[in-house]
C-alpha cells in the first residue's frame, strides 16, 4: 500500500515554493535532451507544459484525441483568468487570492498548493502578454480588469468572452514553436488507452490511432497527464463531447489514487435541455446574473403560460426571497440547488423532459426598462444572440430560461505538492488533478490553475524526478509492454464482440448520466446513493453483455471511441457515488440533504471529514485513504451568504 505523503514544504507560507524550488534537483541544459517525457492532452496544462519542457531542451512526445492540439476544451472558457496583480488598487494581494480560493473551496484543499497558485497567478499574465494574448485594455494602454464570480476585488483579466480561447492559442503557438524546433513531437487523433508501468514506475503509454485503428506503445522516462475533467460522466454537460476520463481512469486502475471524485461543480446559468435528442448543454456566462432577475411562477398552473402574461405578484423571485443579501448573486452551488428545488416542486418552466419542466426564468425586463435595450445590448449582446440562436427565442422580448448543468470537476487524480500521483513518474496537471479547488471552484480560476501547473510547477518538479532517478532503456519487446498492448487489444475485442449486442454507447451513456444526475448531482442522500451504486453495478454488467459497436476496429470508428469512454465513465460513476456516500457532511458543491441547514447552507463537519478522500482501486470495493488537511494559517469559517 502506498503511503500518502503530500510532500508539502514547511516554514513560512510565503517562502515555501521558493524554498522547495531550491531543494529540487536540476538537470544541466546539455543533458536535458537525453530525457524523454510523454504529455497527454493539449489543453492549457498540456500545451503550456509541452512548450516549457521543449524550451528547456527535453524530448517531449505529445498526444491528443482532437484533430489538432488547438481544439482542446480549455478553448471554451469564457470569463477570464484571475491574478493578484492589484492593478486596480482595491486591496488585492497574493494572500487575498489565496484566502478567497481556499474559502471558496469550503476548506477542502491544501494551503501550500493554493498559496503557490496565488503567487504564480501574476507570472501567468506576464507570460500570456509576452506571447501576444490580446487581453482587454484601457484607453491608456494598460491592462483592464473586471470583478468576476462574486469577489470583492477586480482581479480578472479577460479577452472579451473568449479568454480560454486566447490563452489556449497562446500556449498552442508556443508549443508549435517547439514542434518546429524538433524538441516536441506531436500526434493528433490519438487516444491513450493504457499506462505502461515497469518496476513500479510509469514508463509509457499505449495509444490507439483513431484514424487507422493501429495500437502502439510509446515509451519514456515519465508520463504527465493533462487530460481534463470528467463532467461528461453525467452525459449532458457543458464539456466538449470528446472530453473523457479514460486516461485518468486507466491511471487509477493501475494504482493512482483518485481524490474527491464526488466534488463536481454544477453551473447554474445554462440553456435548459429541450428533449431526448439533446447532446450537450451550453453555458451562458455567469455575468448575466449581475442584471437579470431569476424567478419562477408561484402557481403550478402558470408554468405553461407565456411569462409576459404572468403578473408580478404571481412571480416568485426565489433567490431574492431566500437570500436577501446576495440575492441573484449567491455562489454557483447555492444558486444551482435552489433552481433544482423549484423545478422539483413542479414550478419549472419550458419543455417537458422526463415528465418535468426543467427551467426557471432569467428576466432582463426591468433592466431593459431602466437602461434601455441599447445599453443592455452593448453589455450582453453576444450572449443574447447566442441564446437566440440556440433556442429561437428573443431574450429582449421573452425572459431567458436557464437550468444548471455539470461544468467542472474539482476531483481528480490525487497528487502531492510536486503534482505526482501515487504512481512514481506519473504526474497530473490541470483539471485532471484534484489539487487546488477543494469542494468548489471559484470563477476564473480554472485557467489560472491549468497554466500555473503547465508553465511553472510541473517543469520544475518533473525535472527533479528525472534528475533523481536512473532510467534504463526499455524496448518495445519488454514483457510489460507486450502484455499491456495485449490487454488493450483484448478490451477492444470485447467492445467489438459483446455476447448479445443490443445497445449503442450513447444508450448506456444516457443511463449512467441520468443516474449520476439524479443521485450524485446537485443534491445527494444516503438512500438514493446506495440505490445508485446498485444500479451502476447492473449497468456495468449489461454494458459488457449488450454493447453494440458497428463497423470495424481497424479504421476511423467513433462508435468504438465512445464505447471505450462510456465503459470508464460507468466505473468512475460508481466511485463518485461511493465517495459521496462516504462523506457524511455537506461542503461546497457536495450537498448531502441530511447535512444541509434549513436555509440550504452546507453543514461542514471539519472534525470528521476535514480530509481529502483518496481512493485506491479495488473492483467494486475501493479502499479509502485519508490525507488530513491541516490549516496552519487560516481558520476555517462557515460560508454564509444570507
Amino acid at each position: 500500500m502506498h503511503k500518502l505523503n503530500s510532500n508539502v514544504p514547511t516554514g513560512p507560507l510565503e517562502n515555501r515554493w521558493e524554498k522547495h524550488k531550491f531543494d529540487l534537483a536540476l538537470i544541466a541544459p546539455q543533458n536535458r535532451k537525453k530525457y524523454n517525457i510523454i504529455v497527454i492532452g493539449t489543453g492549457l496544462a498540456g500545451a503550456s507544459l509541452c512548450a516549457t519542457l521543449g524550451e528547456a531542451g527535453y524530448n517531449v512526445q505529445s498526444f491528443c484525441y482532437n484533430d489538432s492540439p488547438r481544439r482542446a476544451h480549455s478553448i471554451a472558457a469564457q470569463g477570464g483568468v484571475n491574478a493578484s496583480k492589484n492593478y486596480q488598487n482595491d486591496g488585492d494581494s497574493t494572500w487575498r487570492l489565496f484566502y478567497d480560493t481556499i474559502k471558496g473551496g469550503d476548506f477542502r484543499a491544501r494551503e501550500s498548493n493554493i498559496y503557490r497558485l496565488a503567487q504564480l497567478s501574476c507570472n501567468i499574465i506576464d507570460q500570456a502578454v509576452s506571447q501576444g494574448v490580446p487581453f482587454a485594455r484601457e484607453y491608456s494602454g494598460y491592462l483592464a480588469n473586471r470583478s468576476f464570480g462574486g469577489t470583492q476585488v477586480s482581479r480578472t483579466f479577460y479577452a472579451r468572452g473568449q479568454t480560454g480561447q486566447q490563452l489556449l492559442l497562446g500556449a498552442y503557438s508556443s508549443m508549435s514553436k517547439e514542434i518546429a524546433s524538433g524538441r516536441v513531437s506531436h500526434k493528433s487523433r490519438c487516444e491513450m488507452l493504457e499506462l505502461i508501468i515497469i518496476e513500479g514506475r510509469a514508463r509509457g503509454i499505449v495509444v490507439r490511432d483513431l484514424v487507422t485503428g493501429e495500437i502502439s506503445s510509446h515509451l519514456a522516462d515519465c508520463v504527465v497527464m493533462c487530460t481534463g475533467g470528467y463532467s461528461n460522466a453525467y452525459y449532458l454537460s457543458t464539456n466538449a463531447k470528446g472530453c473523457n476520463t479514460s486516461a485518468t481512469w486507466r491511471a487509477h486502475k493501475n494504482g493512482a489514487y483518485f481524490a474527491n471524485p464526488s466534488f463536481t461543480q454544477i453551473h447554474p446559468t445554462c440553456v435548459p435541455p429541450t428533449g431526448d435528442s439533446q447532446s450537450k448543454l451550453t453555458l451562458m456566462s455567469e455575468s448575466l446574473r449581475n442584471d437579470g432577475r431569476i424567478w419562477a411562477p408561484k402557481k403550478i398552473e402558470d408554468c405553461d403560460k407565456n411569462p409576459n402574461d404572468i403578473a408580478d405578484e404571481d412571480r416568485d423571485y426565489f433567490l431574492e426571497r431566500m437570500y436577501p443579501a446576495f440575492a441573484n448573486l449567491v455562489p454557483r452551488d447555492i444558486a444551482s440547488r435552489a433552481l433544482k428545488g423549484i423545478c422539483d416542486e413542479g414550478r419549472g418552466v419550458g419543455s417537458v423532459v422526463n415528465n418535468q419542466r426543467l427551467g426557471v426564468y432569467l428576466d432582463f425586463s426591468s433592466v431593459i426598462q431602466k437602461m434601455g435595450s441599447d445599453k443592455v445590448k452593448e453589455k450582453y449582446g453576444n450572449l443574447f444572440d447566442m441564446y437566440q440562436s440556440i433556442t429561437g427565442e428573443n431574450p429582449y422580448e421573452v425572459p431567458m430560461k436557464i437550468y444548471p448543468a455539470p461544468h467542472y470537476t474539482m476531483g481528480g487524480l490525487w497528487v502531492d505538492y510536486n503534482l505526482m500521483t501515487t504512481i512514481d513518474g506519473l504526474f497530473a496537471c490541470g483539471e485532471a488533478n484534484f489539487s487546488d479547488h477543494g469542494a468548489n471552484r471559484l470563477g476564473a480560476s480554472a485557467l489560472m490553475q491549468g497554466l500555473a501547473d503547465g508553465y511553472f510547477v510541473a517543469p520544475q518538479t518533473v525535472a527533479n524526478y528525472l534528475a533523481k532517478g536512473k532510467f534504463e532503456e526499455i524496448t518495445h519487446d519488454h514483457p510489460e509492454v507486450v502484455s499491456t498492448l495485449e490487454s488493450v487489444k483484448n478490451r477492444i475485442e470485447s467492445l467489438m464482440n459483446a455476447p448479445d449486442p443490443k445497445h449503442s454507447p450513447d444508450y448506456f451513456h444516457r443511463k449512467i448520466g441520468s443516474i449520476l444526475w439524479t443521485s450524485c448531482g446537485m443534491a445527494r442522500d444516503k438512500e438514493s446513493l446506495k440505490e445508485a451504486i446498485k444500479s451502476i453495478e447492473q449497468i456495468k454488467t449489461d454494458f459488457w453483455n449488450n454493447i453494440k459497436v458497428t463497423g470495424t476496429d481497424k479504421d476511423f470508428n467513433q462508435t468504438l471511441e465512445k464505447a471505450g469512454r462510456v465503459a470508464d465513465f460507468i466505473e468512475l460513476g460508481h466511485l463518485m457515488c461511493v465517495d459521496a456516500l462516504d462523506r457524511e457532511e455537506s461542503c461546497g458543491a457536495h450537498a448531502r440533504l441530511e447535512y444541509l441547514a434549513e436555509s440550504g447552507d452546507a453543514m461542514r463537519d471539519d472534525e470528521n471529514f476535514g480530509y481529502v478522500a483518496a481512493w485506491e482501486f479495488n473492483e467494486n470495493n475501493p479502499t479509502l485513504h485519508k490525507e488530513d488537511l491541516n490549516f496552519e494559517f487560516i481558520k476555517p469559517t462557515y460560508r454564509d451568504y444570507k
Binding site: 482532437n66 484533430d67 502578454v129 509576452s130 490580446p134 480561447q165 498552442y172 503557438s173 467513433q558
Partner: protein, 240 residues
C-alpha cells in the same frame, strides 16, 4: 420534421466516395444539425451498419472542429455560425439536404465527412508565434498597447482554424487563415518585431502545403463563422 439526407461516404483517403441517401424522421425543431446526424447514427447502429464519421467536439462554436458543407455552403447558409450551432428549425423549408466534407487538396478526406487539417498546424509551426520563452516575460504592464490595436489584434485572433475559408475558396487559398494570424501579431508591439520574417515563412509554408493564392473573390469573409475581415489579407500584403 422529416428529412432526406444525401451524405458523402468514403472509406478512407485513398478510396473513392459517393453520396448515399438516408432518411431521418421525427426530428424536433430544437434539435441541432449535429444531433440530427447523431440520431441517424443511432438508427445505423440499430441496423448494424457503420456510422457516418463527422468531426465535432465543443458543440458551442468555438473549437473549430466541425466542418460540413450543407447544400453547397460551408457551415450552412446561416451567417456567422459554425455547423454545430445550426438548428433543424432553420431547415424547415429544406427537406432534402446534401452533406459533404470540406473539399480542398490540402485537406484530404480521412473518412466520410472528416478531413485532415494538419496543414494549418504546420503553417502555425512555420512562424505563427512570438519567439518568447517561459520565464523571460517582463511585468505585463511594462509595455503599453494602444486599445484600438489590442481590439484589432483580438478581432484577428478569434480565428478558430476551422478551414471554411479554404473550403469555399475557388483557389482553395488559406490566405484569410494566414493573414488573420499574421495581423494578430503585427498589431501588438511584442509581435511586430518578427512580423516580416513571420509573414514570409507562413506564406511559404502555405504554398508548400498546396493552398492556392488569393484572387479577391472574398467568399472567405462571407462564410467565416467568426466574421474575420478580408482587410486582414490587405494588411498582410503590405507587410511583405
Amino acid at each position: 420534421m422529416n428529412f432526406t439526407l444525401h451524405i458523402w461516404r468514403q472509406k478512407n483517403t485513398n478510396s473513392t466516395g459517393e453520396f448515399v441517401t438516408y432518411s431521418v424522421n421525427d426530428i424536433d425543431s430544437d434539435t441541432s444539425f449535429l444531433e440530427m446526424l447523431d440520431q441517424l447514427n443511432e438508427d445505423l447502429i440499430d441496423k448494424g451498419e457503420d456510422c457516418v464519421v463527422f468531426d465535432y467536439d465543443c458543440r458551442e462554436g468555438i473549437c473549430g472542429t466541425c466542418s460540413l458543407v450543407i447544400n453547397g455552403h460551408p457551415h450552412g447558409e446561416k451567417k456567422a455560425t459554425t455547423t454545430c450551432q445550426l438548428y433543424m428549425r432553420d431547415y424547415a423549408e429544406q427537406p432534402e439536404l446534401w452533406i459533404e466534407p470540406w473539399r480542398a487538396k490540402s485537406f484530404p478526406i480521412v473518412k466520410d465527412l472528416a478531413v485532415k487539417r494538419d496543414a494549418f498546424d504546420r503553417i502555425i509551426q512555420s512562424g505563427g508565434f512570438i519567439s518568447t520563452s517561459v520565464g523571460s516575460a517582463p511585468e505585463a504592464n511594462s509595455q503599453l498597447v494602444n486599445k484600438d490595436d489590442a481590439d484589432c489584434a483580438f478581432d484577428s485572433a478569434i480565428c478558430i482554424g476551422c478551414g471554411a475559408c479554404v473550403a469555399v475558396c475557388p483557389n482553395a487559398s488559406a490566405s484569410l487563415f494566414v493573414a488573420a494570424k499574421i495581423n494578430h501579431f503585427e498589431r501588438l508591439p511584442q509581435g511586430k518585431i518578427e512580423s516580416g520574417k513571420r509573414a514570409e515563412r507562413m506564406i511559404n509554408q502555405m504554398e508548400q502545403e498546396g493552398f492556392g493564392s488569393c484572387s479577391n473573390h472574398r467568399h472567405c469573409e462571407t462564410v467565416c463563422p467568426k466574421e474575420i475581415s478580408v482587410s486582414n489579407i490587405a494588411a498582410m500584403n503590405k507587410i511583405l
